[in-house]
């Protein structure tokens, strides 16, 4: 019966699918259009507005913001530094999260639930609170330095510099990375590992030749997520950087809120968006290569 209707009335079925799809996609398209596309277009326009001294916003349109940003050594270094720092944070987050995710993936029953809750629980506290926690730990007379001093070692400078930003962001991004890794570990089948061991592969070889390739989708997803979050994070670098670490996100804040140069802030925001786009392209390439 259904097969018959499918053959006799393919047109009406397709149109009803299109209708259903439009109905289902409508809300998200509307929300995205209003809350994402329109503001971004607005930002793009703003990046071409003329910037007058003292935070004034001119009515004329100009290419100055773009041309001056892309030749100014400070901003080029800012862009390069932001990308490198975020990459470093992403790799450290991956290294710290991978074993945890692997263990969680293999854990069973109630134990697995408890561990999962433990991994997710930091997300229930705001990043600001966790960042202040890191200040208490990393400060000159904080937990780590007091321990070092008690052991007779020299205190280290761990806060209000890049070290502090990297440590803080790595910890803050770990739950996201672990969840993304777990989501991408679906293809990892313990029987494949057992088969490799049966055939005489060493544990090291099993890890590199079996586990790592099979978990690549999770690794790619987690890295994309962490990188995007690291580039756009602003509270943690602001609190832990002590005004010495210049990143795109903090510079956008300064330009938008302190010096009131909205066109420059908009230009830098668009540059971040381009970086995200590049990361997304890289991600889809990588995914296609491993699948």
């Amino acid at each position: 019966m259904t097969a018959a209707t499918m053959i006799t009335a393919p047109g009406s079925r397709t149109s009803s699918i299109v209708f259903l799809a439009t109905l289902l996609l409508g809300p998200i398209i509307a929300v995205n259009g209003l809350a994402f596309i329109m503001p971004v277009l607005n930002l793009l326009m703003l990046s071409f507005r003329e910037s007058l001294g003292g935070g004034g916003l001119g009515d004329a349109y100009t290419l100055d913001n773009w041309s001056s940003t892309l030749v100014d050594g400070f901003y080029i270094e800012l862009i390069v530094q932001s990308i490198l720092t975020s990459l470093m944070i992403t790799i450290l987050t991956l290294v710290a999260s991978y074993p945890i995710a692997l263990y969680l993936h293999r854990a069973q029953g109630r134990w697995r639930t408890i561990l999962l809750v433990l991994v997710i629980s930091p997300l229930l506290t705001s990043a600001v609170v966790r960042t202040y926690g890191w200040i208490a730990i990393l400060a000159d007379d904080g937990l780590i330095n007091n321990t070092l001093k008690a052991l007779g070692a020299d205190a280290m400078r761990l806060l209000f510099n890049k070290v502090g930003v990297v440590i803080g962001l790595t910890e803050i991004l770990m739950p996201y990375m672990i969840l993304a890794l777990l989501a991408g570990f679906g293809r990892l089948d313990p029987r494949v590992e057992e088969a490799a061991e049966t055939l005489g592969a060493s544990p090291w070889k099993v890890f590199w030749r079996i586990i790592v390739p099979l978990t690549m989708p999770g690794v790619a997803l987690g890295c994309l997520l962490s990188f995007v979050l690291a580039v756009s994070s602003f509270i943690t670098p602001k609190l832990l950087g002590g005004g010495r670490v210049f990143l795109l996100a903090t510079e956008i804040y300064d330009q938008a809120i302190v010096t009131l140069n909205w066109p420059l802030a908009a230009t830098l925001s668009m540059i971040i968006l381009v970086i995200f786009g590049a990361a997304l392209v890289l991600y889809s390439r990588l995914l296609r290569a491993v699948l």
């Binding site: 007058l52 001294g53 003292g54 935070g55 004034g56 916003l57 400070f74 400060a139 000159d140 400078r157 209000f160 602001k238 609190l239 950087g241 002590g242 005004g243 010495r244 210049f246 300064d254 938008a256 809120i257 302190v258 010096t259 009131l260 140069n261």
Partner: protein, 346 residues
């Protein structure tokens, strides 16, 4: 049927709105936090008590920049009447045509304002004077620092906090340093100030004291900091003697908040009444007593012990700053900081 329900809804809403229009509501944009709390008690509540037909709605904002953002967004149909903001941002707002001029025709108190509360090219007028001060932790520093050069003291390595440029604290401290090191016109050349700040840099623990510089000094995380007098005095009062405020002998610079009338605001007449009151000797004295901002009305009567904790007594030592001219070189000073000052901090 549906239509009639809809219509009666509109009618009901209209009736409910009528009493609200009978009384006028002045929407006031001002700083959030402590400022809002104290300004409401000292100025807004007495004004509303004296003018029962007018309600002042305080719309708290994080800073002047946020206010400018709100006013820009509302330019086509303003929702606010009065904005209290930093003079340099008020200048930008004036240039963009957001404000009506305040002069004798708006308030008779205009004549009583100090000359440095009136600005060429700014529609509003000064409503509070604040100034930069040194704040110090009394456990770490026993003798009150009497010079800005205390910031360079090599024994304070890693124990100083202040906001860096482009914040006004960083720029203002550079202007003071420029002045005491023989600089003349900082708009033309601020090298003397930048060089002095380069000597301060190795002492700096953080250029971004959070949430503010005051608690970091009170709790001893740093020993010395640069802050604004009004907030420093209020924080010193609540610090159990842990933090004290010093106005160095070389003088200081002023930060000036202006009060501005929003062009085309919904309650123009009531807003003018409020501005008139805010600039009166009575309101000015009350707010000074409450939060140690110096009054801009020369006739404000302030008790001697309060005046001593404001810049009133040291007006002759104030280093003049052309805020409007500064806005043109602020970017350059910020670049100098990034190249020559911040890299020297450890």
């Amino acid at each position: 049927m549906k239509k009639s329900i809809f219509l009666s809804g509109i009618l009901l809403a209209g009736m409910a709105a009528i009493p609200a229009y009978a009384d006028q509501t002045v929407t006031f944009l001002g700083y959030s936090g402590l400022f809002q709390e104290r300004y409401t008690k000292a100025v807004i509540e007495p004004f509303m008590a004296a003018n029962p037909g007018i309600k002042v709605e305080y719309f708290p904002q994080q800073g002047s920049a946020a206010m400018l953002g709100a006013l820009r967004a509302q330019k086509a149909a303003p929702q606010s009447d009065v904005a209290l903001m930093d003079v340099s941002v008020a200048k930008t707002g004036t240039d963009e045509g957001l404000f009506d001029k305040i002069d004798e025709s708006v308030t008779k108190n205009f004549a009583d304002l100090y000359p440095n509360a009136k600005f060429e090219g700014v529609a509003g007028v000064g409503v509070t004077f604040d100034n930069l001060v040194l704040i110090y932790n009394t456990d770490a520093i026993k003798k009150a620092p009497d010079s800005w050069n205390a910031l360079k003291d090599t024994s304070l390595k890693g124990k100083v906090a202040m906001l860096s440029a482009p914040d006004i604290v960083g720029i203002g401290t550079t202007i003071i340093m420029n002045h005491i090191n023989g600089g003349t016109d900082f708009i033309k050349n601020i090298d003397a100030g930048i060089n002095a700040m380069a000597e301060v840099a190795p002492n700096i623990q953080t250029w971004e004291p959070k949430p503010e510089v005051y608690p970091t000094v009170v709790n001893g995380q740093v020993s010395l900091g640069v802050g604004w007098n009004a907030r420093s005095q209020v924080n010193a009062d609540g610090s159990n003697g842990k933090m004290k405020v010093a106005l160095p002998k070389e003088g200081t610079i002023l930060q000036i908040n202006t009060i501005n009338l929003v062009k085309g605001g919904p309650s123009a007449e009531a807003a003018r009444k409020f501005v008139d009151y805010a600039l009166s000797a009575e309101a000015q004295a009350a707010f000074t007593a409450s939060m140690y901002y110096a009054p801009t009305n020369a006739k404000a009567k302030v008790a001697a012990e309060v005046a001593d904790r404001t810049v009133i007594g040291a007006m002759d030592k104030v280093i003049p700053v052309d805020w409007i001219g500064l806005s043109k070189v602020r970017d350059q000073i910020t670049q100098d900081w990034r190249r020559k000052v911040i890299p020297l901090s450890r």
